[in-house]
Symmetry: C2
C-alpha cells in the first residue's frame, strides 16, 4: 500500500473512533461535551494515533483481524491528550493563541473557564478509554494495557509534556510579565541542550509514548521496544525541528495557525539557535537514525519508515 | 481503635506516601515540581485517600500485612486528582479564589499558566501512579487495577467532577460576564434536581470513586460493591450539603478558605435553596441511609461508619 493511502485509511478509522470516544449527554453535561468535541473533532493530522496503530501492526504476530481493535483505545487516548494540551497551550495565560487548525481556539468560542474544563475532561477520558479494555480475562492483555497507561501517563505528565510546556512557559520573555514573582525580568536565554530537553518533553514524549503504547499493545518484546524507543525519539525531535522550520517558512493558511508567532514572541526555536540550513540538516540526521533503528528491529519494511520520512517532508 | 486515632494514623500514612508520590527533579523540571508539591502537600483533610484505604481494609480478606500497600496507589491518585481540581477551580477564569487551605492559591504564587500546568501534571501523575502496580504477574491484581483506573477516570472526567464544575461555572451569574457568547445574560436559576446533579458530579463522583476503588483493590464482590456504591453516594451528597452549611455558619479561619463566598457570588447552594434547618435534616438523612447501606454489606462495624458520621459532624 502506498503511504498516502495507508495514512488516509488509518486517519479515517481514527476519525470514526474519535467521533464515538466521548461520553455523550445526558451522561455528560452538553456544555462541556460540546467544548470537548469542538476541539477533538476539529481536524488535525492524527499523527499520534496513526503511530499507535502503525506500531501495533508492525510488531503484532498472530491473527490480523483484531490488530487495530487492540490498539484503537490507546490511539484515541493519545489524541485526546494531544487535543487537551493544545486547548491549554492556547489559553491566554499560556501562548494566548486565537487560531488553531484554522478555527478559533477553544477559549475564544467557549470561554476561558470552559476551555480549561474541556482540556481537563479530555485528559480524564483518555485514561477512562484505556482502562475500558475489551471484555476478556486474558491476563496478558490487562498487563499490557497497564503498561500502555503507564507509558502514556508519564509522557503526558511533568516528566514529559507538562514539564516541557512548563520549561517553555518559563523561558518565553513575552510571558514573563505575567509572573508575579519575577515581573519584568528577562529569563536567561535557553541554550541548545535546554532547548532539546524542552522539545523532547513537550513534543517528543507523547510521540514516543504513542509508538511504545502501540508496540506494547501489539506484544513487542524488549529488543523491539528498545529499537522503537530510539526510532520514536528521533521522529519526535524531527517533528519539532520541522515545526520550527515551518513556523519560519510556512504560510498561516497552510498551517492553520499563526505563522511566525514563535519568532515574533522571542521564543527560542531550533531555527533561531541553529539557522534554517542547519535545522534542515538536523532533521535529515534524525530521519536517518530513525530508519537505522527500524532496520535493527527488522521493521524497515513497515509503514513506520514512511511515516518518519513524511514527518520530515511535510509542508504543514 | 477510636475514630480520631484511626483517621490520624491513616492521614499520616497518606502524607508520607504523597510526599514521595511525585517524580522529583531532574526527572521533572523544578518549576512545575515545586508548583505541584505546593498544592499537594498544603494540608487538607485527606478524606478521599482515607476512604480508599478504609474501604480496602473493610472488604479485604486474607493476610492483613499488605492491605494498605494494595490501596495506597489509588489513595494517592484520588488525592492528586482532588488537588488538581482545587488548583483549577481557584483560577481567575473559574472561582477566582486567592485563599485555599489557609494559604495563597497556586496561581497567586506560581502564576496562572504554571498553576494550569501543575493541575494538568497532577492529573497525569495520578494515572501514572495507578498504572505502576506492584511487581507481580498476579492477573487478578492487574484486572482490579484497571477497574480502579476506570472508576477513577470516569469520576474525574466530564461524566463526573469536570462535568459538575462545568455545570457550576455555567450557572454562576458572577462568571457569566466572562462568556463571550452570552455576555450579560443571567443564566436560568438552578432548581433542586439540577443542584443535586451538579453536586453529585462535582463532589460526589470522586468520593464515590474513592470508596469503590478501595473496595475493588480489596477484592470486593458485586454485592458489597453495590452496597458501598450506595454508601458512597450518600456520604458524597452529605459532604457537599455540609460544605454549603459551613460556608454560611463557618469562619474563614476555621475553613482555611473564604467563608460566605458562595452566598456572595449568588451561586446556588443547598442552603440558599432549602434553608439551614432543612439542609441539616437532609444531611442527617444521608447519614442514616449511608449506615443502612453498610449494614446490608455487613460492614457496620468498620471505620467507614464513623467516617460517614464525621463527614456530617465536621466543623471544617
Amino acid at each position: 500500500m502506498d503511504l498516502a493511502d495507508y495514512l488516509e485509511a488509518r486517519r479515517a478509522e481514527v476519525e470514526t473512533a474519535l467521533a464515538e470516544a466521548l461520553p455523550a449527554p445526558p451522561r455528560c453535561p452538553p456544555v462541556v461535551f460540546d467544548a470537548m468535541r469542538y476541539s477533538l473533532l476539529g481536524g488535525g493530522k492524527r499523527l499520534r494515533p496513526i503511530l499507535v496503530l502503525a506500531a501495533c501492526e508492525a510488531v503484532h504476530r498472530g491473527p490480523r483481524h483484531d490488530v487495530r481493535a487492540l490498539a484503537m483505545p490507546a490511539a484515541c487516548a493519545v489524541e485526546l491528550i494531544h487535543t487537551y494540551s493544545l486547548i491549554h497551550d492556547d489559553l491566554p495565560a499560556m501562548d494566548d493563541d486565537s487560531l488553531r487548525r484554522g478555527r478559533p481556539t477553544s477559549h475564544v468560542v467557549h470561554g476561558e473557564g470552559m476551555a480549561i474544563l474541556a482540556g481537563d475532561g479530555l485528559q480524564a477520558e483518555a485514561f477512562a478509554i484505556l482502562a475500558r479494555r475489551p471484555d476478556t480475562r486474558d491476563p496478558d492483555l490487562a498487563s499490557r494495557t497497564l503498561s500502555a497507561i503507564q507509558v502514556i501517563a508519564e509522557a503526558a505528565g511533568a516528566m514529559g509534556m507538562v514539564g516541557g510546556q512548563a520549561l517553555d512557559l518559563d523561558a518565553a520573555p513575552s510571558r514573563h510579565h505575567a509572573r508575579g514573582d519575577r515581573a519584568g525580568q528577562r529569563p536567561p536565554a535557553m541554550d541548545a541542550a535546554a532547548l532539546t530537553d524542552m522539545h523532547a518533553r513537550k513534543t517528543g514524549a507523547l510521540i514516543r509514548a504513542s509508538v511504545l503504547a502501540g508496540a506494547i499493545m501489539g506484544g513487542a518484546g524488549p529488543r523491539v521496544l528498545d529499537a522503537l524507543d530510539r526510532y520514536a525519539r528521533e521522529i519526535g525531535l524531527a517533528f519539532q525541528i520541522v515545526d520550527d522550520i515551518l513556523d519560519v517558512e510556512g504560510a498561516s493558511a497552510d498551517l492553520g495557525k499563526t505563522a511566525g508567532k514563535d519568532a515574533a514572541s522571542g521564543k527560542p526555536t531550533c531555527v533561531s539557535l541553529y539557522g534554517l540550513a542547519e535545522s534542515k540538516a538536523l532533521a535529515a540526521q534524525c530521519l536517518s537514525r530513525a530508519h537505522a533503528a527500524l532496520d535493527e528491529a527488522g521493521l524497515a519494511d513497515t509503514p513506520l519508515a514512511g511515516i518518519a520520512r513524511w514527518i520530515v517532508d511535510r509542508r504543514t
